[in-house]
Amino acid sequence: MNRRFIFPPHLCAVWTVYLKEVRENLRDRRTVINALVTGPLLGPVLFGLLFSFTLQRQLADAVKPLPVPVIGAAYAPHLIHALEAQGMVVKPPPRNARAAIRAHVAQVVLVIPSDYDRAWDAGEPSGVELYYDSSRQGSHTPVTRLKRMLKTYAGLVVAQRLFVRGISPLILRPVVPEDRDLATPQSRSALMFSILPYFFVLTVFLGGMYLAIDTTAGERERQSLEPLLVNPVSRGAILSGKIAATVSFALVSLTLSIIAFSVVGRFLPVEKLDVILDLGPRFALFVLLLMLPLAVLLVTLQTIVSAFAKSYREAQTYLSILMLLPVIPSLLLSVMPLRARTWMYAVPLLGQQLGIMDLVRGETVSGVEVIACLIGSSVAALLAILLARELYASERLAVSA
């Protein structure tokens, strides 16, 4: 029985190229380490770090005492008492407030002037000075907290003074805003979660990168492309086999990454942030499904770019630039959260971004959205493959140098 009667020769050739590329690249230690170890671990590790970082900052905001060096604490014992009651811890005064800020000794320094008491007695505003550097990372939270404490204290004093004069303090509050924050714990961590889909995209990129280069620019640089193209097989078949091999590596990389994510997810102290992080099997399968057509699209783009690079190194340079492209939707969504509409799911990258964010928030993705995402990305992938085949037929491609 001859196998060629079962498979058309075209598919036979695709399969032959596929097997050869997979076998050859599995023998390359650098490719294997990058596609199957470093790539899949990168996302989960970065995410874990990001998570604990966010956790620390949020916890710091809420409960930690606020250490503030105070110059002239003795002039305003009442004020200091009131601030300490709200969680401020008085630190010994520096010699010079400006110098202390410049030297990064403190985030904020409170200075109480010697005439504080006099102004107070006269019923005039008593000025206190807050020294800080707003351009410095991390100064925002302590400054805001200290200002809030001061405001609370000032409000208390106003109420007392009005009360003494027989006026209801309520007269100062004609309109009272009352917070009804509908943010769920999940959506509060939106920034963190919006970066999660990018890690999956990054994994696909890293998983496919070495094969995309090796099978095209690498093959030409090693002078084996011309002999290969002389075989009685269409270039389209050769290219399809190469892309299929690259997609396989990218998908294995992605699967390992998703597994690593669910392992990392178990060890993250999510309950402390009061968020639900759903990285279970349902999540894994959905991510794999949504990413499948995108992986084909990305790998094909990588292959097109590398096929026209003059050398292996040049291909690496181009691909590093291409790798930055998928950051755009992640950044966009974290900076200006737009309302998801169904058509957006059909846009490659954006659709996966939205879908994966929905999933991770524990929300359901509707069937229409899933189908829009799959169809949109599949069509784009198909167009990319057709373009690649068109370009691959070029005479220029085969000739080295």
């Binding site: 196998r3 032959t16 050869k20 390359d28 002389v230 269409s234």
Partner: protein, 244 residues
């Protein structure tokens, strides 16, 4: 048999090949001799269908190689200018890959690959990865993978390049053997020694044109030169780019 007629090929403003016609017969070794840059490689690339000629026709065993490229390639065994191996594959796997691309499979495939390994005397390296092969070993593998499907026609672009004396001798013997089996062998060279030692017929090419076509004796007679070297120089117009 390889027949070409009035081939033209331009790259941008450069007229690489302008009117090349010749025939390489079965059971003969035909040499394409010319200085570097004369258009030999471009001509061969059109013959083995890597490039399309701007105009002119090519027939491989009667098949129109300009339009039926895949069918023509079935009849060709090619050793191109670029002859890289897959270094992470063994010699046998390298040959096996090309054999499968030629549609061989199963027992037929294994028999053919074994036959090539034996024919080229490479049993010792068949199971070794191609990384670190000597020039001679590399040529054996590239020949084996180019001929594994038993093509009627052989096209070799500067096959002697970079070979030491032993490897050159082995290559010559191999090509003579192919001729004895009735195959059509066409190779290019800029080395006169190589051409005169092997060829039944010499096609001299210069500046993209065929300037002479015949046996070594015919070329000598035609130019009135006493030795072949003078004959070539007189045909090409200069000795530049030719090697002894």
């Amino acid at each position: 048999m390889i027949e070409t007629s009035d081939l033209h090929k331009t790259f941008g403003n450069v007229q690489a090949v302008s009117g090349v016609s010749f025939t390489a017969q079965n059971g003969q070794i035909t040499g394409l001799l010319g200085p570097n840059g004369a258009g030999k490689t471009t001509t061969l690339r059109m013959l083995y269908t890597l490039m399309q000629p701007d105009s002119g026709s090519i027939h491989i065993d009667g098949i129109d190689a300009v339009h039926e490229t895949l069918a023509a390639r079935q009849h060709l065994g090619v050793l191109p200018d670029a002859r890289g191996l897959y270094k992470r594959l063994t010699a046998r796997e390298n040959i096996d890959y090309f054999a499968r691309l030629h549609g061989l499979s199963g027992m037929a495939l294994r028999k053919r690959v074994d036959a090539m390994i034996e024919l080229l005397g490479m049993q010792d390296i068949a199971g070794r990865r191609a990384e670190g092969f000597s020039q001679g070993q590399r040529v054996k593998v590239t020949l084996a993978r180019a001929l594994v499907h038993q093509p009627q026609n052989l096209i070799l672009d500067e096959p002697g390049n970079g070979l030491d004396v032993m490897a050159t001798r082995a290559l010559r013997d191999f090509l003579r053997q192919q001729r004895a089996e009735g195959r059509c062998v066409l190779f290019s060279s800029h080395i006169m020694q190589e051409v005169t030692a092997l060829c039944d017929r010499i096609v001299v090419i210069a500046r993209g044109r065929v300037v002479a076509d015949g046996t070594a004796d015919e070329l000598r007679v035609r130019t009135g030169a006493t030795n072949l070297e003078d004959a070539f120089v007189s045909l090409i117009g200069t000795s530049e780019g030719l090697a002894q």
